[in-house]
Amino acid sequence: MNYYLRRFLRVIVTIWAVATFTFALIRLLPGGPLVQLRAQLIRSGASPERVETLIQSYTKIQPDAPIYVQYFDYITSLVQGDLGESISTGRSVGEVVGGALPWTLWIAIATTILVFALAIVWGAIMAYFEGSNFDLASSSASILAASMPFYVLAMLLIIIVGYEFGWFPTRFRIDPNLEAPVFSVAFVGSALYHSVLPIASMVLTGAGLQVLAMRGNSISVLGKDFVTVARLRGLSDRRISITYVARNAILPMYTSMLLSVGWYLGGTVIVEEIFTYRGIGYYMYEGLESRDYPLMMGIFLILTSTLVIGVFVADLTYGLVDPRIQTGDQSESF
């Protein structure tokens, strides 16, 4: 089967499997969400019939129907784009997600790109000056940065850069008083300005280990025979460093970049809560805190789908970076 087609089918299967998983989590766990939700509604004084209808509208699950009917209903409404209704906000989950997703995507994508741009450039420079004081200082700084969780840096940034110096806003995704239309210069400017600290807190901490990885890759490529041969051929330093070293050193970074997108996407739940940045991470936190299961599960599903699709798209471009793309599994089985 075609490689890309197979990859695409895998995307569909993964999203379906995660949807099944959320269904199981809501429905099947003893004392799980459904039981708690019912208790919550009964405590609020609703009549039993009303409770059943509410549960049905919130979760798209009819508690009395046989399990396969429930499952079928759940998946059908998901396919139709209906994620249920949020209990705490009273809005539909789709509506909440729609307004918040772009902001989270911006944070996660900008973080990933900046982390790897920083890592590739800085790591390569460190490898070039290997053994110098600059290298030693940068390595130590990278290790220190990696030992700091991003939320700790976020708090420090808020206190120091935000409160003390007042250079950057510490909350919200844009200036609440701003009444400029969407996509005007003022709007985009304000949005960028407000996203500086959240992005900085994840980039500065996340880049630490990646810088070291890039440095290590570059050093090991520099020791390879083909680089020695290229030197002997009298090729220019520029050509050696770009075509021979950089390309081969960046390749392993690409895979780890795909892996870390998920970590940054997940990290937005904490970062957005700290910065009151209303992306889907923030709403996921709200859902978790108020035990708003439809909201929480809906956003979890959306986050996973985003990641799966993102990795799929990135995978399509992998052929551009590495021409030796694996098209199949040729290994002999033992």
């Binding site: 895998r10 290997e130 990696a146 998920g262």
Partner: protein, 349 residues
Amino acid sequence: MIKVSHSESSDEQFSFDYGESEIELTRRERLQDFYEEFIRKPGMVAWNDRRTRIGSAILFVYVLMGTVGVWFYRAPQTNQVDVPGYPGGRGVPPFTDLSAILGSTQQSGKDILAQIIHATPNMLLMVLSGGVFATVVAVLIGTVAGYKGGTVDTVLTSFTDFAMSIPGLPLVMVLAVVLRPTNPLVLGIVLMVNYWAGLGRAIRSEVLSIRQESFVEASRTMGVSTPRILFKDVIPNIMPYVLVNFANAARFVIFSSVGLYYLGILPAGVANWGIQLDRAYSQGSLVGIAALYQLLFPMIMIMGLALSMILLAQGADRIFNPRVRTRLAGESETIEEEEDADAPAGVMT
């Protein structure tokens, strides 16, 4: 300086099943060999590295705090600090009084040092169970998939890919809310519920190259069973790699558990640095910069433990990583020149 014979330790692809040997080795000799080849020599290479020594020293301090410290130092309690001039012992700044050297909390007058020390045992247990769980699952799935190949590989790799494509932190949060784990050992496992996947994938590709080695082929032609090949030939050769990743996994457990405690998603009945962070941070926004000291100490604790893990990982990396071998061969300069200058050139492959 400890002298390590690099020419011996360079032989990464060492195997224990001496197929060609006529003499059966006793268990004791095997154990001795194992100790020599996989514990003492790599240990010395790692110990030669400054980072390993600093990392172990830091970790030792935490272990001391988590075991002996808990016995000797009082548990945190409301208004436990007795310092003149501070009603209820609240808001004592750090380094003012010996009875509460790191000060006490603004709101409840708890001794900060006591909070920090009594959070350590649970954290260490969590790190241990999470790290062991993730590494064991990753090694099992990675080696079996990589070695067996074929359908087994396809099935295991698909499963791994599936686990890998779920963003870890949100999954853990959902599970934490639904399952409400309180036991630190269980919590460690919940935190690593899909972390093993990335590691398993990496181990699989390591094993893919090991399975082609002649010593594995020899064992296979001799009819050695698959589990035996995996345990005797394959796993010892990926051990250093696994060690490095154990330390990385441990760092992940620390970061995510403290993060979840900070958010208040995990049950708050226990002592944890994340809970301290949360309390201190919310008070800091009320009281202002004067309350910052409460934030600083848990932060230092988190970073210290994470730092020791990174340093240990980097030190262990030396045993395994080809670039270190390249460096030892004298093909590139190094920071620790004095260590490597006497390494014989050209013995590395």
